[in-house]
């Protein structure tokens, strides 16, 4: 697999509510190679502080060599990034890691929590190439409407059914996204989950119980994204060793990793 380090021009920046931003980057090589669930490592500035690149899922690729990232301000790096303006260049490394694979089952559930929805749009497009829209459902959860409102519309316009849950009830059902999963009755299904660890743990548990396939995209702190620093470990399900999120993941079968 080819990895590229590109100076990517920021062609467009969009600010959504809830401190969420979408950047469209001109990175043709990365756009050509990227697959849903893969990520890029981005420098958030030119100086040495903050030092490390930050990982972001490929949110979408689009015509003209565009790579989009969708991110939320949570600290200094994302703060700096959010202030960049179109016309500037970002140093982007990618595509990295193992993405989602097309589940064998006939029903596909895309489950995203908060900013975890980032890679699901790309995944949905990919799945639509091989599946009927009716075979794909999108389940989104967030604290409040702000965080997922726009994206919910994007999925809707692709002809997909979207179910939402918000903790404050401002969009969809009041509660957690996992609440939406529990009542579903399917014998053969694949769940693609992306979001905070506690949510993924519940998703993995539900899938295990129901006997569904379950792919989850995990996050850890990363230094290199290249399988070189060995810093991005999570415990294997056999508890006997570690997998590396940047190389073996970020997407794992839920039964590959330990849920602590």
């Amino acid at each position: 697999m080819q990895i590229y380090q590109q100076k990517a021009e920021i062609l467009r920046t969009e600010k959504f509510t809830g401190d969420i931003y979408r950047f469209s980057l001109k990175a043709p090589d990365i756009a050509a190679e990227a697959r849903p669930g893969q990520f890029v490592m981005v420098r958030t500035g030119e100086g040495m502080d903050p030092l490390l690149r930050r990982p972001f899922s490929v949110h979408q690729v689009a015509e003209g060599g565009l790579v989009q990232i969708l991110f939320k301000i949570v600290g200094r790096g994302t703060q700096l990034l959010s202030r960049m303006q179109s016309g500037k260049y970002l140093d982007v490394l990618g595509p990295l890691g193992q993405g989602f694979t097309n589940g064998e089952n006939n029903q596909h559930f895309l489950v995203g929590g908060g900013i975890g929805i980032a890679p699901l749009l790309f995944l949905a497009k990919q799945l639509l190439k091989r599946n009927e829209p009716s075979a794909i459902k999108v389940l989104l959860g967030a604290r409040t409407e702000d965080e997922i409102g726009i994206l919910a519309e994007d999925f809707g316009s692709m002809g997909l059914e979207v179910l939402s849950a918000t903790e404050d009830g401002s969009l969809g059902q009041k509660g957690l996204v996992t609440d939406l999963l529990v009542p579903i009755n399917e014998t053969r299904a694949t769940v693609y989950g992306c979001g905070p660890y506690p949510m993924l743990r519940v998703v993995a548990g539900i899938c295990h119980t129901k006997g569904w396939g379950c792919q989850v995209s995990l996050e850890t702190i990363m230094a290199c994204g290249l399988a070189a620093c060995l810093g991005c470990t999570v415990l294997r399900s056999d508890l006997k060793g570690y997998v590396h999120v940047c190389k073996d993941g970020p997407v794992f079968n839920a039964d590959e990793v330990a849920w602590l």
């Binding site: 590229y4 380090q5 040495m48 502080d49 230094a223 290249l226 620093c229 060995l230 991005c232």
Partner: protein, 308 residues
């Protein structure tokens, strides 16, 4: 008129390198990880992740934390172990026309000796770099590199079992690094490389606990450059063998600083994470610097700031 390019070649004892820029152990995987980003043939040498006799799983996560102009790691020396290195990693490196240096680590003197003996059989292994920052399990876990006698013994053991150059990599977590350097020189090291990471830590004030599961970790990156440079200067003053500078080197200017301080070569570590093309850019930049300064060879840089 043909413009003469400056000569970047340097020697580390019997080891001849096309240029003085190597990759620091643990920051460049086993080389292959960077194959699509760096022209591996262009590097002075490739130093791979530290290898132990048996595979090691490493420390539990979190293993990383970012700090001001630096990072902490507590990888815990995770590695595939000697056998898997030979069977899975070496074949790719055989195809790269760049000297390969294997970084080794052990729990005991015997570990180091066995590693040296086995790697001596592999012609491709141009040199060993001996990581003595590891705890000596037979000595209550005190790091080999913090005691001159233990450092002497490890070096001697490796020296006796390996026929090509032996580089000993020094720990900065000592009162007097010159004393350790002197001990390993006396034990027959062909070169010393320094510095390994500086012991540090960080605390998560939200969760009220250390950011690293291991509590302590090794600090690397630009933050430690002044410390590394000082130690290179001190050691280059005191030993006759070549010194390889490591610590925060991210730009050609950084590499020049270390060579002016007395280093014969440099290693690029954390910078590989931030800019995977750092090594190539440094090689290119060294050439430019020498050209601008009208110097014919990179060797003219070595220790130059100590002579004025």
């Amino acid at each position: 008129m043909a413009v003469e390019l400056p000569d970047l070649k340097i020697n580390i004892g019997a080891l001849r390198l096309n240029n003085p820029v190597m990759t620091a152990s643990g920051t460049f995987g086993y080389g292959k990880e960077f194959a699509s980003l760096v022209n591996l043939h262009r590097l002075g040498a490739i130093i791979v992740k530290g290898i132990s006799l048996l595979p090691r799983p490493g420390n539990p996560p979190p293993r990383l934390a970012e700090t001001a102009c630096g990072m902490l790691n507590a990888i815990g020396l995770e590695n595939v172990g000697l056998e898997k290195f030979l069977s899975d990693k070496l074949p790719f490196l055989l195809g790269i026309d760049t000297p390969l240096i294997v970084n080794i680590l052990g729990d005991t003197l015997e570990d180091y000796q066995q590693l040296a003996a086995r790697l001596d059989e592999e012609e491709k292994v141009a040199a060993l770099e001996v990581n003595i920052s590891c705890p000596n399990v037979k000595h209550g876990g005190v790091a080999f590199g913090t005691d001159p006698d233990m450092a002497y013994n490890v070096t001697k053991g490796v020296r006796q079992h390996f026929s090509r150059p032996v580089i000993v990599k020094l720990s900065p977590n000592v009162t007097d690094i010159v004393m350790i350097a002197g001990a390993v020189e006396e034990a027959g090291a062909d070169a010393v490389s320094l510095i390994n990471t500086v012991l540090g830590m960080a605390i998560d004030i939200e969760f009220c606990r250390p950011k690293l599961a291991n509590i302590f970790g090794g600090l690397s990156g630009p933050a430690i450059k002044p410390i590394a440079l000082r130690m290179v200067w001190q050691v280059a003053d005191a030993v006759a063998i070549p010194v390889i500078g490591i610590g925060g080197i991210s730009t050609p200017e950084d590499a020049v600083e270390f060579m002016l301080a007395g280093a014969s070569a440099v290693q690029v570590g954390t910078a590989n994470f931030i800019n995977p093309k750092a090594t190539e850019e440094i090689i290119q930049g060294l050439e430019t610097y020498l050209t601008e300064k009208n110097m014919a060879s990179v060797q003219e840089l070595i220790g130059r700031a100590r002579r004025t």
